[in-house]
Amino acid sequence: MTAYLKLVVKNAFRQKLRTALTMLGIVVAILAFGLLRTVVDAWYAGSEAASATRLVTRNAISLVFSLPLTYYSQIKQVAGVKSVSYANWFGGVYIREKNFFPQFGVQTSTYFDLYPEFVVPPEQMREFLRDRKGAIVGRKLADTYGFKVGDQVTLRGTIFPGNWDFVVRGIYDGATARTDTSQFFFNWEYLNETMKKTAPRRANNVGVYVVGLASPDVAAEVAAAVDATFKNSLAESLTETEQAFQLGFLSMVETIVLAIKVVSFLVIFIIMAVMANTMAMTARERMAEYATLKALGFGPQHLTLFIFGESLFIALLGGAIGVGLSYPVVNWFGGVMGSLFPVFNLKPETIYMQTGAALFVGAVAALFPCLRAARVRIAEGLRHAG
C-alpha cells in the first residue's frame, strides 16, 4: 500500500504548476464556501441562541407599534409566566451612521434575570442599577469602540430625537461563544421620563415584553393566553417564542440569505468543474501509462485507486489548507463586520461541510477519468506512447 501511496503522491506533483493552481483554486473555493456559510450562520445565530423558556410579546400589527406599559401586570398574572420584563428598541447613532449596534432601553431590575447568558460582574450591575443614565455594553462592542467602565457615551436618537448621554457602568460577557455581546442596554426609565417631558403621547409604551416561562412545555398555552388577554383591545398582541421572533426578522432578508447559500454551493460547483477538467487532462495525457500498467497486470481497480487517490489527495490537501485558513479569515472578517454580525464564528458543522465539499469535489472529478482509464483497450492505449 505504501508503494501505491507513493505513486499517487508522486503523480499528484508531476505537473507542479498545474497541481499548485488547481490546489489554489480549491483553497479559495473551500475558504469562500466556509466564509459564506459562516455569514449564513451569523444571520441565524440570534435565533439559534434563543431560549426555549422565553416568549416575546409585541404589537400584533407590527413591531414598529408599541404596547402599553399597563400590559405588564396583566401578563405577569397569566398562568405559567415566571417573570416579565420589557424593552424598547432605541435606534441611536454613535458618532457616525456606520457605527451600527443594537441599543435597548430595558427594565433594569428584571431584564438581566431573564438573560442569564449576559454575564455582568455583580459590582458593575449594582452601579448600573443605581445610575439612571447607566449603560451595560457587550464585550465585543466594548472592544470595537474602546468603551470602558466609566466612559461617557452619547447617542444621537433617531426614533427618540435628541442627544442622549450615558455612562458605561458595566461590560457583559457571553456565557457561550454564541452569545451576542454586541448590544447596548440602558435604563428604560431614562427614556420614559424624557418622553414624558418631550413627547408625552409616546411615554409609558414599550416595544416588546419578554416573558419568562416556568417550563418550555407551556410556551404555546402561555402565548395563547397572553394574546387572548388583549384580544379586541386597541393594541392587540402577538406572542411567540424568542426563536420565532428572531426568525421573523430573518424572513425580511430571506432572499439575501438564500442568495448567499446558492453562491456558496456555486463556488463548489465551479471548482468541481475546474478540478474535473484537470483530472480529465491528466488522464488523457497518461493513457499510455495506464495501458502499460494494464499490460503489466494491473486491473481497472488499481487504475481507479491511482486516479481517485490522486484526485482526493489534491482536493483534500487543498481543502485542509482552505479549512486552516478559514479560522484567521473568519476572525478578520468578523472584526471588519463589527457589530453587524454579533456572533461570527466558524462552526464545527461548517468545517465538516468544507471537508465534505473537498471530498466530493475530489471524488466527482476522478469519476470520468477513472471510467476512461478502466475502459481503455491496452493495444489502443499503447499507441499513445512515445
Binding site: L7, N11, R14, A295, L296, G297, P300, I378, A379, L382
Partner: protein, 214 residues
C-alpha cells in the same frame, strides 16, 4: 482472424494464421508497416483478443479467459519490452522494476532483493535511484528489461525493442535478450523492422497483409 473497425469499414488485420513457437525459442516477426506483426504480438501477449480462433500459450487457451483472469495470467507469464520503454516517469529505476511485484504477495524486503538482482543483471546497480529522465535510452530500455523479467515470466514480447536506440545501445539490448533466451530459457517473440536485430533471433517469420508468408 483479427480485424479492426474504421468507421463503417471492417479492416482485416490478421487472416487465417497458424503460428507455433516452441518453449525457449527466440523468434523475430518482420514485415512492412500495417502487416499485422504488432497485432499478432499483442494477441500472443494477451493484450488483445482475436475475433475468432484460439490462442494456446503454455497449454492455456487465453481466448477463453476473462479480463481479470487475463490480467493475472499476463502478470505471471508475460514480460513486456516496448519500443519507447514505457517507464513511469515519476518513479525511479528501482520503483519501475518493482511495479509488477506489487501484484504479488512478496514482502517489501523480498521485493527489494528481487529488484536489486534484476537491476544487477541488466548492469544498472549504480542507477537504482535514477529517474527515467536521468537515464540514456539504452539504460531506460535495460530498466524495462529488468521490469519484464522481474516476475520470471516464461515469455518475453518485445515490440521494436531497439527502434528508438542508437547502434551501440541497440547492440547491448540485443545481446541482453540473447542472454535471456540462452541462459534463462525465456521464450522471446520480437517485432522488428531491423534485419540486423532479426538476425539475432533463432528464427524469423514474415508477415504481409495479415498473412504469414514464411
Amino acid at each position: 482472424m483479427k480485424s479492426y473497425r474504421r468507421g463503417d469499414q471492417v479492416v482485416p488485420v490478421l487472416i487465417d494464421i497458424t503460428f507455433d513457437i516452441a518453449a525457449g525459442d527466440y523468434v523475430a516477426l518482420m514485415g512492412p508497416s500495417g502487416s499485422g506483426k504488432s497485432t499478432l504480438l499483442n494477441l500472443i501477449a494477451g493484450i488483445d483478443k482475436p475475433d475468432s480462433g484460439t490462442l494456446h500459450v503454455g497449454g492455456v487457451d487465453i481466448t477463453t479467459l476473462g479480463e481479470a483472469e487475463l490480467a493475472a495470467w499476463r502478470s505471471r507469464n508475460v514480460g513486456f519490452i516496448f519500443q519507447f520503454y514505457n517507464l513511469m516517469p515519476v518513479l525511479t529505476a528501482f520503483e519501475n522494476v518493482e511495479l509488477p511485484l506489487l501484484l504479488t504477495d512478496l514482502t517489501a524486503r523480498e521485493r527489494r532483493e528481487h529488484v536489486t538482482a534484476a537491476l544487477g543483471m541488466v548492469g544498472l546497480s549504480d542507477r537504482v535511484e535514477h529517474y527515467p529522465s536521468e537515464l540514456s535510452g539504452g539504460q531506460q530500455q535495460r530498466v524495462a528489461i529488468a521490469r519484464a523479467i522481474i516476475t520470471d515470466p516464461t515469455i518475453l514480447v518485445a515490440d521494436e525493442p531497439t527502434g528508438d536506440l542508437d547502434r551501440t545501445s541497440a547492440e547491448d539490448i540485443l545481446k541482453m535478450m540473447d542472454r535471456l533466451n540462452r541462459e534463462l530459457g525465456k521464450t522471446i517473440i520480437m517485432v522488428t523492422h531491423d534485419p540486423h536485430a532479426a538476425e539475432q533471433a533463432r528464427g524469423v517469420r514474415h508477415l504481409e497483409k495479415g498473412e504469414l508468408t514464411q
